[in-house]
Amino acid sequence: MEESRIWTMLRETVRTVVPGVRPEALRPDVSLADLGCDSLDRADIVSMLLDDLDLDVPLTEFRPGAPLAELVGTLRRHGA
């Protein structure tokens, strides 16, 4: 899948979970925590992305506090 497509899915998922976040705030160098997501929001976002991408990856693979570029990279490494 093209990386831009994953970024689009990430933006949509973040908007669903934390509606207050502006789309342009989702830059590669910021983390979900930087965007104001608490630990449950972060876990929900990753969990929903894995479902949407039909990937079976343990949530423990995703480093808390990682910048979004790393999050997208981890998804791609597992086949997205």
Binding site: V17, L40, A43, D44, S47, L50, D56, P58, L59, T60
Partner: protein
Amino acid sequence: MTAATITGLGVVSALGTGLARFTAALRAGRSAVGPWADAPAGRRLDAALLPASVGGDVAALIGGVCPQPLVDRIAGAVRRAPRPVRVAVGAAGQAVAQACLADEPVPADRLGVVVGASGVHNATAERVRQAYGDRPHRTPPRTAVTLPDTHHVGVLSEVFGARGEGFCVGAASASGAAALVQAVRLVTVGELDACLVTGALHELGAWDVGALAGLGALAGADTGPVPPPFHRAHRGFVYGEGSACVLVESAASAARRGVPVLARVDAAVQRLDGNAGADPDEDGEVATMRAALRRAGRVPEEVDYVNAHATGTPLGDCAEARAIVRVFADCSRPPWVNATKMLTGHCLSAAGLVEVVATVAQLRGGFLHPSVDPADAVEPRPRLVGPVTRDVAARVALSNSYGFGGFSVSLLLSLPEA
């Protein structure tokens, strides 16, 4: 020790959402019980269910009674909470509005939250297991927080800004009433000024239904409609969906805030029967009712009305009927008796608080809702209201709740002096 009062009531029930609609349905003697389409475990059952839309939109549960800023804040905060929690927040929002708690707040660290809940998310747990049983490492992490009963406490405290003491009380079908007992204790010893006490919507899963039906507690509807509580042909209870909230407040705090007292809690007593099973204990029920009377400093003659636990199970109905007859044996005019579960179904964890709302609604409304026809009732039978609503100026009421495992609660409620 200070007196405990009730300054706010909220209810989301199959009979109606909001105190006004709920009270009107009680007065009309309307039953919300009907066939349960697609009941779990492939059974033919009756139930009193909330419309499927209820709980989808919390604003619909509190709109019209809550100030708009509070409605908006609540709707945002609970957007992704499970349905039982959204429904509980709806009931609590009604009680908060009636008690003017948003406009005239009590100090945050003097406001508590006590929730009656005893495994209310079993149905959700079943769905999670079905979806993730073969890949537990992908279980939605949120369930670590949302599946335990305590999620109700967290959400209610966040939404209504409570920073005092709070917890869940589990006492099976007596959970709601037992939660009120603890809240009254916290208020009367001066630990809190006010406490939001909610009974959680108790969703039944297929396993719950299978077990309760197998035990003979949950009535099947294969042979026609299920007879109401205290009917001599009773064969089990009918499930009801519902949640209720009672704002318990010290008399001093209510006076300070200038809000009307809806009812007083003269006594709230809980006892154990020393019985791990499901069978009722008549002697324990008698002892609990007498303890409530004693603590309230009242004699049996003063009680005008008993809101019975009566679920419709043969053992439970007969034990409670005998217990009530014994407690009031020497009264020249024993109290009237009815069973709200005839109209609402058995709301399990929430039942005790739904029935506190029903009791106060009847005292304040000057009526008592119908019961089974005495001609069809168990023997010995207490003084049943009968098939038609009675206009009765009752002032003092006893409300009973019992639960599997020997939990027994009696609450003595009264109207404040005029």
